[in-house]
């Protein structure tokens, strides 16, 4: 069904160069109507440039952007069916909340009565009822952001663009706004396109995420795929925390595969990877997917042996660093080969963090479906 519908935004081979610098390098992607789409990437990766090209503040050097099937090449920002919430919120400081939110409707000549109703409705939507006469300098950052949101939503755009919407908020408020934004998007049914460098934000809000690196799409996938099935080392490393080991593919069959990593040992997977035999590959192993065992390796070996052949998915090391984070404890463990591996362990009881300490010899195991093989 959804495949039948035309994407609301089509980005076709878009490049943007500023002089010699290529900000966006031949990106093509479709954004579907009604989805919460997130452009994720480190600062300077070109994600904001891409967003500004959708809004019309930058023109592509090459390529085409279509919104609702219409080519936007010659359409100025004020004629595009999209609205933007700016990073600084850009609330007009000399207008009160009502005038701010009603600005777009006022200049497009909407009758006064309708403006009043729609502004009230929009303020209700962002939970700013009762703030009508406030001036922006009498409001907190979070409230100003709601004004910016209402000011855009009141225009009933086809797409709402958000530039780093949560970066200026404190941690607690950010967590709350993540839920509220997702909720709001659900309620109004408008397509949201958000730019962020914060992977937590992307994972918690998005229906799909495009990870951008150096102006190119590194991976386009739903949040859980991004985390569990990263396409390459950049994505694996950028989204979440990860241990990466270089190795050689020694076994590759439809239902199993093995990789020999000089730094880590033999890694066994319960699925095929379809890579050339003997190829140079990388193993990505998330810290929370590694089990830690008290000195004496019997238990670890037995646990590993449950779903892998002997001598696989097992490693020994010495604890070199620890940080207690409350819900989990993070360990930095030096493997026998000298490399450092990071392991996180949930504190299931109040004394769990006392099980291990600095310079303890420990053993580790992981399950056969935990490691990811990366070809690039």
């Amino acid at each position: 069904m959804t495949e039948m519908k035309q994407p609301i935004i089509q980005i076709r081979n878009v490049s943007k160069r500023f002089g010699k610098v290529t900000a966006v390098d031949n990106i093509s992607l479709d954004i579907r109507a009604g989805e919460f789409f997130v452009l994720l990437g480190p600062s300077g990766c070109g994600k904001t440039t891409l967003l500004r090209m959708i809004a019309g503040f930058e023109l592509p050097t090459e390529g085409q952007i279509l919104i609702d099937g219409q080519d936007m090449s010659l359409v100025p920002p004020n004629k595009r069916p999209v609205n933007m919430v700016f990073q600084s919120y850009a609330v007009f400081p000399h207008m009160n909340v009502t005038d701010n939110v009603g600005y777009g409707l006022r200049i497009s000549g909407v009758p006064k009565g309708e403006i009043r109703d729609r502004v009230a409705e929009a303020l209700e939507l962002v939970k700013l009822g009762g703030f009508e006469d406030r001036m922006p300098d009498q409001m907190s950052g979070g409230q100003r952001q709601r004004v910016a949101l209402a000011r855009s939503l009141v225009m009933r755009p086809k797409v709402l663009l958000l530039d780093e919407p949560l970066s200026a908020l404190d941690a607690k408020l950010r967590a709350q706004m993540q839920f509220e934004l997702a909720d709001l998007q659900d309620k109004v049914g408008i397509t949201f396109v958000t730019v962020t460098h914060d992977q937590d934000e992307a994972l918690s809000m998005a229906s799909r995420v495009a990870v951008i690196n150096k102006g190119e799409v590194a991976q386009l996938a739903p949040p859980s795929d991004l985390y569990e099935y990263p396409a390459n080392r950049f994505v694996a490393d950028f989204v979440g925390s990860v241990n990466i080991f270089e190795g050689t593919l020694t076994l590759d069959e439809p239902d199993k595969a093995a990789v020999e990593c000089p730094g880590l040992g033999k890694v066994y997977l319960n699925h095929g990877v379809t890579g050339p035999h003997g190829a140079n590959v990388w193993i990505a192993l998330r810290p929370e997917k590694i089990y830690l065992h008290v000195p004496g390796e019997g238990k670890a070996v037995r646990a590993a042996a449950q779903d892998a052949p002997d001598g696989h998915n097992f490693a020994r090391g010495t604890i070199k660093g620890m940080s207690y984070l409350g819900d989990i404890t993070l360990y930095e463990i030096q493997l026998e080969g000298g490399q450092i591996i990071r392991v996180s362990r949930p504190n299931l009881s109040r004394h769990d963090q006392e099980d291990f300490t600095w310079d303890d010899k420990v053993s580790m195991h992981w399950r056969a479906d935990s490691p990811v093989v990366l070809l690039s």
Partner: protein, 278 residues
């Protein structure tokens, strides 16, 4: 007396030496003006000894047709010079703030040249310039003031541009983009977002331009003809004979006029707004 709190290290306003210093500074700045204003009420032909209170010199000043005409000329010149400087200065500031173009530094430097060049040089330059291009001097009022107005604009608009430019530096460009994003045209975005932001600097710039134009002597002296005497030039010619209370009276009127104007501007814009503009 006993429950007074101790003076904290940074509470300079409560220290006696600080207060006296401020008082002395004020006295130094304003005593001459106050003396001038007091002596405008002096009932004496010579402006040396106090002989008694009178308003007759105000009457005399207001009945002195050439003095009133000079005043009218000055106000007209200041009015037009301010308006045009405001437009040119704002445009120049916005251009320098928004665009990047070759030789921008040079344009910026050249623009503030009239502030730096000694007035006497500008005056002579204008004298030669207007004579060379045969600028008509026999035009009807107020067109006969055009040469002076042009000269005044030259040294007034850089001040406006400077003040507006400073204010623009604090403008968040995303606000303008937000306006356009919401459907505003270039002009609407300028009118609804940029203009309100620079308004305090426009008031400050206008005040600067108006007062600069109103009391300019040197440049005006070189560009004015026999029919286009301005107030400062007229006062100068009167003083050459003797300093009569009539001059004091006229000056007092001018002082009150500018103070009132500044007061209205401050009242309308708020002191903070204007000081923010700098």
């Amino acid at each position: 007396m006993f429950n007074r709190t101790a003076i904290a290290p940074l509470e300079y306003t409560r220290k006696l030496w600080m207060r006296s210093w401020v008082g002395l500074t004020m006295l130094f700045l304003y005593a001459p003006l106050i003396v001038l204003m007091i002596f405008s009420f002096n009932d004496s032909k010579r402006n040396v000894v106090w002989k008694g209170f009178t308003l007759k010199y105000y009457e005399k000043a207001l009945n002195n047709d050439s003095l009133v005409e000079a005043m009218a000329n000055s106000l007209t010149i200041a009015f037009f010079a301010t308006i045009i400087s405001l437009v040119i200065g704002t445009l120049a500031a916005v251009m320098l703030w928004r665009f990047r173009f070759p030789l921008k530094g040079l344009v910026e430097g050249t623009m503030s040249l009239p502030i730096i060049v000694p007035e006497i040089c500008l005056g002579v330059a204008f004298l030669i310039f207007f004579a060379k291009i045969d600028w008509p001097t026999d035009l009807p009022w107020p067109l006969n003031l055009s040469a002076i107005i042009i000269a005044h604009i030259t040294f007034c608009f850089p001040f406006v541009a400077m003040v507006v430019r400073a204010r623009l530096a604090s403008f968040n460009k995303e606000e303008e983009e937000a306006a356009k994003d919401l459907g505003a045209t270039e002009w609407q975005a300028f009118r609804d977002v940029l203009l309100p932001h620079i308004k305090p600097s426009l008031v400050a710039g206008a005040l600067l331009a108006f007062t600069l134009s109103l009391d300019d002597f040197v440049i005006t002296f070189f560009t004015s003809g026999p029919d286009t005497i301005t107030f400062p030039v007229k006062v100068y010619s009167m003083v050459r004979f003797s300093v009569t209370p009539e001059v004091n009276a006229a000056s007092t009127i001018l002082i009150i006029l500018t103070v009132a104007l500044t007061f209205i501007a401050l009242k309308y814009q708020g002191v903070k707004g204007i000081s923010d503009a700098h």
